[in-house]
């Protein structure tokens, strides 16, 4: 299916061009902000037809574009989206608008470069979700690191250089293995098309090697235990906007890699080693949640919470095989994958919102330490209401989006194995414990110090940003059907691929 109008290219390149324009606008901060807002809004508007014009009855790639890029190596500029990538693109374009608004007055230094970095990063991230050519994918994947590296390194906190380098090295290690895997696949198939990779036969040994290459590449991004320690550092040092994009979108790229590369390309190895990923996911859910409990820095706490929640995503993807083994059909497995995908979107909203909440407080108090706060509700009641709402969503309260994905994944995990489900559902207690304990210490109680006593409640801009996220979290929690309905065909196809042997 091919549309005449290159909508995907527009969604990718519009923000990148916007970023360059903003950069050119230079010193005029006011103009820069409005330009950045205009481009991000425009990108969001342009991305909306991807949903309205989406045909959810097919798993085929839609809005496809195809052009030869480097004929000598059979590299194509080939784009297309399915029910898995489309919601993620909307999430990206939506979040970027909010980040631009949220950074409005907060960033006073090198505004044009800051805004440009976010716009360019937006285009690159959307590019990752659209790319159907492995080289194109890899280019977007690698270049995306640069703006984030700069955002942490320039606008970050005190240990920003350490955090930025840790971030870069960690993810770079993963990327290198991804490149090796892609090159191997090219030499075997003489094509860089990801869809061709899906259809090629690969022996078991090669699959296992590829499995680990993919695993390391994507696990670093997700991040999964034990390659997760860059995330808390990166979050702590990153400016609020950087944290939001990191948590809301960048982590999703790793998870996206699992469904775009791992499951369809090396299904037999995935089948064989699914226990390993389930194990790592459960460690994320339990171990990381325990670690989150004792954090003293709010951003670290939310960062660890992100890792625990992403554990549900990988768990949802990989319980599939257990269900297939015991029932000999893929019926029942779709709920796990769809739950994981919903969790990705939902976590984008919730973690983004929580980082913005911390940002709101940080802008006023210049501290992220839980012990510096207490009784914020007394001076910032509106903010407190929103923060409690997002905390509840983070704890997976029904009626918020945080519930939907976890619920579906736990239901699917139960089919796979009782004990896996038991361990996964400890999040009900642990997730509530670390989130609400933080809320108790930061939001509730008497006003603890003079600084808290002088806090000003949210301004219009902050209310707008947090309010619109709250609406999304609530909408998705009360009626997730519109999101899940676009996934069915693609997830069904993915499951077919995952359980058909390629040996």
């Amino acid at each position: 299916m091919s549309s005449e109008f290159p909508l995907l290219s527009l969604v990718i390149w519009l923000p990148i061009i916007g970023g360059l324009v903003v950069l050119a606008a230079g010193k005029n901060d006011v103009l820069v902000r409005w330009l950045a807002l205009a481009f991000s809004m425009l990108t969001f508007l342009v991305s909306l037809p991807l949903y309205t014009g989406f045909d959810s009855s097919t798993y085929q790639m839609q809005f496809a574009e195809e052009a030869s890029w480097v004929p000598a190596f059979n590299i194509h500029y080939s784009l297309g989206i399915d029910g898995i990538s489309m919601p993620l693109i909307l999430l990206t374009s939506f979040t970027t608008v909010l980040v631009v608004i949220a950074s409005w007055e907060v960033i006073q230094r090198r505004v044009s470069q800051y805004m440009a970095a976010f716009l360019i990063m937006e285009g690159l991230m959307i590019g990752v979700f659209c790319a159907l050519d492995a080289v194109l994918f890899y280019v977007f994947w690698e270049f995306m690191l640069l703006p984030m590296f700069l955002i942490i390194g320039i606008w970050g906190g005190q240990r920003r250089v350490y955090a930025a380098i840790k971030f870069f090295l960690y993810t770079f290690l993963g990327s290198v293995l991804l490149l090796v895997a892609i090159l191997y696949l090219y030499f075997q198939s003489d094509s860089f098309s990801i869809l061709d990779f899906h259809d090629m036969r690969i022996g078991m040994n090669a699959q296992i090697v590829l499995f680990f290459a993919f695993l390391i590449a994507f696990a670093v991004k997700v991040p999964m235990w034990p390659v997760h320690t860059w995330l808390p550092d990166a979050h702590v040092e990153a400016p609020t906007g950087g944290s939001v994009i990191l948590a809301a979108i960048m982590l999703k790229l790793g998870a996206y890699g699992f469904v775009r590369f791992m499951l369809p390309i090396v299904p037999d190895a995935s089948h064989e080693l699914d226990w390993f990923i389930i194990l790592l996911s459960l460690i994320a859910v339990v171990y990381i949640a325990m670690v989150a409990l004792v954090q003293e820095d709010m951003k670290k706490l939310i960062a660890y919470s992100s890792i625990a929640h992403m554990g549900f995503v990988t768990l949802g993807f990989f319980v599939v095989f257990n269900i297939f083994d015991s029932t000999n059909s893929v019926v029942g497995a779709a709920m796990g994958v769809e739950g994981a995908l919903v969790q990705m979107i939902s976590h984008g909203f919730i973690s983004g919102a929580l980082f913005l909440c911390v940002g709101v407080m940080y802008d006023r108090m210049h501290s992220r330490n839980i012990s510096d706060y207490g009784g914020v509700v007394n001076t910032m009641p509106v903010f407190a209401g929103l923060m409690v709402f997002f905390a509840m969503a983070n704890a997976g309260l029904p009626g918020t989006s945080g519930f939907v994905g976890e619920f579906m994944v736990i239901l699917a995990a139960f089919k796979a194995n009782f004990w896996v489900a038991v361990l996964a559902s400890t999040t009900l207690v642990l997730g509530a414990a670390y989130t609400l304990w933080m809320v108790k210490r930061v939001i509730f109680g008497k006003v603890t110090n003079a600084q808290v006593a002088e806090l000003k409640d949210l301004n219009m801009r902050e209310t707008l940003v947090l309010g619109s996220l709250a609406v999304m979290v609530l909408l998705l929690g009360l009626w997730p059907a519109p999101l899940i309905d676009v996934m069915h065909a693609s997830v069904g196809h993915l499951l077919e691929q995952a359980v058909s042997s390629k040996l």
């Binding site: 034990p226 670690v291 709920m335 309260l397 736990i410 004990w419 509530a432 109680g445 009626w479 309905d485």
Partner: protein
């Protein structure tokens, strides 16, 4: 019926939204008017529904409102099931809620969070209605968690109070432990039935009776037992059964109206309602029924004992609630689901009454809650006194009052139940009757009779509460007297519940009792021939003797048996245990995993170790790049030699 149900549910929600989001705009009067209007609409329409279902014989309504999501061919829907059981719950919930709304006008008059409070209690009413009107497990869980959320918000309503924000976190987390089981139970239902719709699950259940599943270590479990016990763990959290009871006494840190509404009359009975609703499942597992009856019996007896040593008026009533919830659960375990619901209903009225009357006392005492500092209040607040007395008599099961009929039915039902554990449960509920009377009248005598132990200032200001407080008391006192006599016939021995509750013939204890039932008066007469009534009178007598006639005796007993007293005073050490093992232990494990696992092992050894290693390696390699020409020349020669050797040999 579809529109009717929708209006009943949404009216309080709209009220909550207006009072909550536009509290400043509508003002105090606006907030209470709009929420009371919403709840009144719900109450009146619930009566209409009740009339239609129960008296006009309209068929139960079962329909969906919208599809939440579809995945794997399984439809998750939001919808309503309105049958006899639901209709009864709707009336009870909306009536008590309405009373509490009105009462709140007086109780919270001076509170700065007035609008917020009304918003919360209306939101609670909405959530509770969603829970009882659900027609599927998913929505049940929605309502289940939503009432938990509102409970959290309301316990911590006075957010400046350290004890309140500790209590609400504790309540939420302990409830979450129960919900963990509940959610797994729902997952089990979905796995074996492939649907979450009540009707469909109940229809398929009998065919699944003998299906087993390998649980662990080759042990075969009946899936019904597995499902029922997992679901019941949820009920243990919400209905505060041992050992998940620890949150309820602390929840008394919230304002008194919500102790009445949420932590006595409605939310805590959700577990009882749920098991009754799931009777078609529980009937298929004797193991689960035994589990239920034993947990209920333990709660009924041992939580009642704690009520004797408490001095906080609200905490005495809270332990009483725990104990009475135990009675309801015992009834469920004996397959007397109708009796459990019957006691739920009578308890909702008289316990809400007791709490609100206690609240009236607390206002008069300027927020003093210690009963040892009260006494002789009878002459200052007559309406509160008489309504409290009615509540107390109903609670101890004094013949003729509402609680008598429901509690006696439970005792009789357990007596003839054959499920294992019933013998123990029978003993527990009988002893419990004595205990109930003892703690209830200890509190009653200490508050209203005897010496006036309050300080001079408080005594001067003692007066009866305003009508917005006393009118709800009177309105709740009426059903606390008459509802038992009115309802026992149809509810216990008639066909009131129709198909809503399902009991297998071999478990049907009510069938046996029905053959002995010859009307209200003979039931009361029969009561005098059974031990329960005498035990409760004995309890009142002992309380009178120890706390009124010879007040010094209480202190003597305390000193004579310090071991028992301490055990009760420390609440069997349950709170200490949880604090040390779960709260401290959890944080300890977390700290270890963080400091050792993340920082030392992963960052220290793996990440920085790698970086350090590479740095070292680089240092060695750097020495090679010395910049001296002869070093390079030497290296080239060696390289050449190696290559030559390679090719030649």
């Amino acid at each position: 019926m579809h529109t009717l149900s929708l209006v009943i549910v949404l009216a309080p929600l709209i009220g909550a939204i207006i009072a909550g989001l536009f509290g400043k705009v509508v003002g105090r009067a606006g907030a209470h008017s709009v929420t009371i209007l919403g709840v009144s609409i719900s109450f009146l329409l619930s009566l209409v529904v009740f009339k239609q279902i129960v008296f006009d014989g309209v068929d139960p309504y079962n329909g969906s409102v919208y599809t939440w999501l579809v995945s794997d061919g399984v439809k998750f829907e939001v919808g309503f099931l309105v049958d006899e059981l639901t209709a009864l719950m709707m009336v009870v919930v909306t009536f008590v809620s309405l009373m509490v709304h009105i009462y709140t006008i007086g109780y919270m008059r001076d509170d700065p969070g007035y609008q917020r409070f009304f918003s919360y209690i209306s939101l609670f009413t909405f959530s509770m209605l969603m829970l009882v009107m659900a027609n599927n497990f998913m929505q049940l869980f929605f309502g289940w968690e939503a009432v938990g959320l509102v409970s959290y918000l309301l316990i911590g309503f006075w957010y400046q109070k350290e004890s309140a924000i500790y209590a609400n976190l504790k309540a939420f987390l302990v409830n979450r432990v129960g919900d963990l089981g509940f959610l797994l139970g729902i997952a089990a239902v979905l796995m074996f039935f492939n649907t979450l719709d009540y009707a469909e699950v109940f229809r398929l259940a009998p065919s699944m009776e003998h299906v087993t599943v390998e649980f662990a270590m080759n042990e075969q479990w009946s899936i019904m037992t597995l499902i029922c016990i997992l679901l019941f763990i949820g009920a243990m959290g919400k209905s505060a059964q041992v050992p998940l009871h620890v949150w309820l006494p602390d929840s008394m840190e919230g304002p008194t109206p919500i102790s009445a509404l949420i932590h006595a009359a409605t939310m805590v009975t959700a577990g009882v309602y749920m098991v009754a609703r799931m009777s078609p499942l529980y009937e298929l597992s004797e193991t689960a029924l035994s589990f239920v009856i034993v947990i209920g019996a333990v709660t009924a007896l041992f939580m009642g004992l704690l009520g004797i040593v408490q001095n906080d008026i609200k905490r005495v009533i809270a332990y009483s609630t725990l104990s009475q919830l135990g009675y309801m659960v015992v009834a469920l375990g004996a397959s007397a689901y109708a009796t459990g619901i019957f006691h739920l209903m009578t308890h909702a009225f008289f316990k809400a009454l007791l709490f609100l009357a206690a609240g009236s006392v607390i206002i008069a005492m300027h927020h003093e809650q210690n009963i040892t500092k009260m006494g002789g209040l009878k002459k200052y607040m007559p309406i509160t006194y008489w309504t409290f007395l009615i509540g107390a008599l109903a609670l101890i099961g004094f013949p003729g009052f509402a609680g008598f009929f429901s509690k006696d039915s439970i005792i009789e039902a357990v007596k003839i139940s054959t499920v294992s554990g019933a013998g123990f449960a029978y003993a527990a509920v009988l002893v419990g009757v004595f205990i109930t009377a003892l703690y209830t009248f200890r509190m009653f005598f200490l508050v209203f009779h005897g010496k006036e132990r309050m300080d001079e200032h408080t005594r001067e200001h003692l007066h009866e509460s305003p009508p917005v407080v006393t009118v709800p008391l009177i309105l709740l006192a009426i059903p606390s007297v008459i509802i038992g006599a009115l309802a026992i016939g149809p509810l216990q021995f008639g066909s009131f519940f129709g198909d809503a509750i399902h009991v297998l013939p071999i478990h049907d204890v009510l069938e046996v009792l029905q053959s002995e039932y010859h009307g209200v008066f003979s039931f009361m007469l029969h009561g005098f021939m059974a031990p329960a009534v005498w035990l409760s009178l004995l309890g009142v007598g002992v309380a009178w003797f120890v706390y009124l006639k010879r007040p010094e005796l209480a202190g003597d007993i305390k000193e004579r048996f310090p071991g028992i007293y301490n055990l009760l005073d420390r609440k069997y050490g349950a709170d200490d245990f949880n604090d040390v093992v779960f709260a401290e232990g959890g944080r300890g494990v977390g700290r270890f995993l963080w400091r050792f696992g993340d920082i030392k092992l992963i960052d220290g050894v793996m990440v920085n170790g790698t970086a350090f290693g590479i740095g070292k390696l680089a240092g060695i390699v750097r020495r090679v790049q010395s910049g001296f020409l002869y070093h390079y020349a030497f290296a080239m020669i060696i390289g050449l030699l190696v290559l030559l050797t390679w090719f030649v040999f």
